[in-house]
């Protein structure tokens, strides 16, 4: 059993069955106590209603409202392979803000579509936003197959319409699965009613995501937080990608000096390696120049050292962000003056409506595609490659915006 949870976001048109799907997942994975299910069934019966899996989600929201067991934005369940966290935001604004500021990042995204209604405008907007947030791989669920008689032709037609759109915006559907969340078809168990489908169930598709090795096989990125000169010089920082080992050859950025890791230092321990997420001290074979904000990397796959990049930002300040005005760029432990030099598109985060192209300012709660130029070179990467070096905030008196880097301009 893996221990790193996969963070999942489920999007789709409001009536296409998201609540029912989450309720069904929690039920099928035994994540809800049986007596709670029995209670909900009993109340449904007393009210003359059919039991619906959406009621399970209602019940979770209830517990969350009271702060008993459920975190404000997260729902937990576990498959045989690993734990999962469903990131549940009350609306677009909260979701975009959480994602872009790193309050909650999704490893995988699911788009749910009603087989009967097909692709709606809201479905497309959600897909578009997922793309803006740096998510490239999605699972597409064509839901309510029971309402179309489990018809393969209907599935193929809805799937094709949506795939065409996903291709246009550069998203890749790793699986397209016909399901009925209310009946449980292909959610956690294979459906006998959809015998023409040979692919994985939704849960199997989720389990096929490889989170752990993605983290560990990634190139080394060690971000320097501080330097202590004791009897030896210890460089303290955080491994934000890959695994750093004793004797590894590393390049120090932005200077480009090369050296070797002589030792890894941890209080009362002698570790040989440090994995992603670990804060640790290191000593080097050579006395390289180093300061807070520097990044150790392993050649040839290294982050960019540049003054300009494209990004998607979420503005969260009542004072609008204006093109050309100085603002502090803070990324990992780097902090430097910068300017927004172009505002390519602006989108209302609530309605997802396009507000304009080539604009001069970004208002509160708007999402924008921008180009940012920094005063001096910064060490960055696209968010999709190394989130810690691809995510930043823009600061005036307080944090005015959060953003993710989409393209490095050299």
């Amino acid at each position: 059993m893996e221990d790193i949870p996969l963070k999942l976001v489920i999007t789709g048109h409001v009536d296409h069955g998201k609540s029912t799907l989450i309720g069904r997942l929690l039920f099928d994975t035994g994540s809800i106590p049986e007596d709670k299910i029995a209670e909900i069934r009993q109340i449904c019966s007393a009210l003359g209603k059919e039991f619906e899996f959406g009621y399970i989600l209602d019940n979770l929201e209830e517990e969350r409202d009271q702060g008993i067991t459920i975190d404000t934005t997260q729902i937990f369940f576990t498959s045989k392979k690993r734990p999962y966290v469903i990131i549940d935001a009350p609306g677009h604004v909260e979701f975009i803000k959480n994602m872009i500021t790193g309050a909650s990042q999704a490893d995988a995204a699911v788009i749910i579509i009603d087989a009967e209604e097909g692709v709606r405008e809201q479905t497309k907007r959600h897909a578009f936003i997922l793309g803006m947030l740096g998510i490239r791989k999605v699972i597409v669920l064509i839901n309510k197959m029971d309402r179309v008689g489990y018809d393969q032709k209907r599935f193929t037609s809805v799937k094709k319409a949506f795939m065409d759109f996903l291709n246009e915006i550069g998203l890749d559907a790793v699986h397209s699965i016909p399901i009925s969340a209310s009946n449980g078809d292909n959610v956690a168990t294979k459906s006998a009613s959809i015998s023409w489908y040979n692919g994985p169930t939704f849960l199997e598709a989720l389990d096929s995501f490889d989170v752990q090795s993605t983290f560990q096989k990634a190139p080394i990125r060690f971000v320097v937080q501080d330097i202590y000169n004791f009897s030896r010089r210890i460089i303290v920082g955080k491994v934000v990608s890959g695994t750093i080992r004793q004797n590894d050859t590393v390049t120090v950025l932005p200077s480009g000096e090369k050296t070797q890791v002589r030792s890894l230092e941890e209080y009362l321990k002698n570790p040989d390696f440090a994995e992603t997420g670990k804060c640790i001290g290191i000593t080097t074979a050579d006395k390289v120049f180093c300061d807070r904000g520097y990044v150790f990397s392993d050649p040839p796959d290294m982050p960019a050292v540049t003054r300009q990049f494209k990004a998607n930002i979420f503005w969260m300040d009542t004072i609008p962000g204006k093109k050309g005005l100085p603002i502090i760029f803070r990324c990992s432990t780097q902090e430097i003056y910068s300017k927004i030099t172009a505002i390519h598109t602006v989108i209302n985060s609530s309605s997802l409506e396009l507000m304009g192209l080539d604009m001069d300012e970004i208002k509160n709660r708007e999402v924008a595609q921008v180009t940012i130029t920094t005063e001096n070179p910064v060490i960055i990467e696209p968010y999709t490659k190394t989130p810690e070096l691809g995510r930043f905030v823009l600061v005036r008196d307080n944090v005015s915006a959060g953003g993710i880097i989409t393209e490095v301009l050299l």
Partner: protein, 246 residues
């Protein structure tokens, strides 16, 4: 057709918390019942239908007889309508036996000694309330399909269940969801009105000192419950004018 969805003890804060969009409609708020010494169901609905504060008149009947109040149609705004359907409204035509049994069971719950006995009483109390709710719901839905110029459906489920189960948030949420679905099924503009809300008293629920209103057409501000007499008369007049015009 004018529809009033009258809900005993519909609590403003729970409507907000459970985001009951059909109960909220475009405009919603709290009613002002501060002129009454206590938020009493019979007094409030009596005052609502007559447009007059009937607290003194109803309390003068005494604790027991108060529940048998039957206000004459001519004193109510229902008399201004030609073919109204009023379903189970306290002080007018509500099911005396059913509501009396509810009150008996509520009293019995607090009188019996052991937790097991209490659970048995509560089970019967809840079951009756749900069964009666189904009956009223069916009558209301049937009336919506008939040719009435006024339909008033009174629903007591939030009050009855809330008194003994207010801390059971799963139950309360599902009741509010059901009421919201009923509101969503009303095919014409409607007004939602409660006599008072409900607040926690330990694990139980007690009447709060404000009611709830909502409308799809008009911001009523912070109305008194007696203001609805004139609101309904005025709506009926404009309904008549529209009818004349057509």
């Amino acid at each position: 057709m004018i529809v009033i969805f009258a809900i005993d003890a519909l609590e403003y804060n729970l409507v907000e918390q459970f985001n009951c969009t059909y109960l909220k409609q475009n405009y919603y708020g709290k009613t002002n019942i501060s002129e009454f010494s206590e938020p009493r169901t019979m007094v409030l609905w009596g005052s609502f239908m007559t447009g007059k504060n009937l607290e003194a008149e109803i309390l003068a009947k005494g604790d027991k007889e108060m529940w048998n109040t039957r206000i004459d149609r001519n004193r109510t705004f229902f008399s201004r309508f030609t073919h109204p359907s009023v379903i189970d409204l306290p002080g007018y035509n509500y099911d005396l036996r059913e509501h009396e049994r509810e009150r008996e069971l509520l009293k019995q719950y607090f009188d019996v000694g052991t937790p097991v006995e209490k659970e048995l009483v509560k089970k019967e109390y809840n079951a009756r309330a749900f069964e009666f709710h189904q009956k009223i719901k069916n009558e209301f839905i049937t009336a919506l399909g008939q040719n009435h110029d006024l339909i008033l459906g009174y629903f007591s489920i939030a009050d009855v269940i809330g008194h003994l189960n207010f801390s059971n948030s799963t139950l309360m949420r599902m009741i509010y969801r059901d009421l919201d679905e009923i509101a969503g099924a009303i095919p014409v503009p409607y007004i939602v009105l409660s006599d008072h809300g409900m607040e926690p008293l330990g694990a139980f629920g007690d009447h709060s000192r404000y009611g709830f209103w909502s409308s799809s057409e008009q911001d009523l501000g912070n109305p008194k419950i007696t203001d609805f007499f004139e609101i309904m008369v005025s709506k009926n007049n404009s309904q008549g004018l529209q009818g004349d015009h057509s």
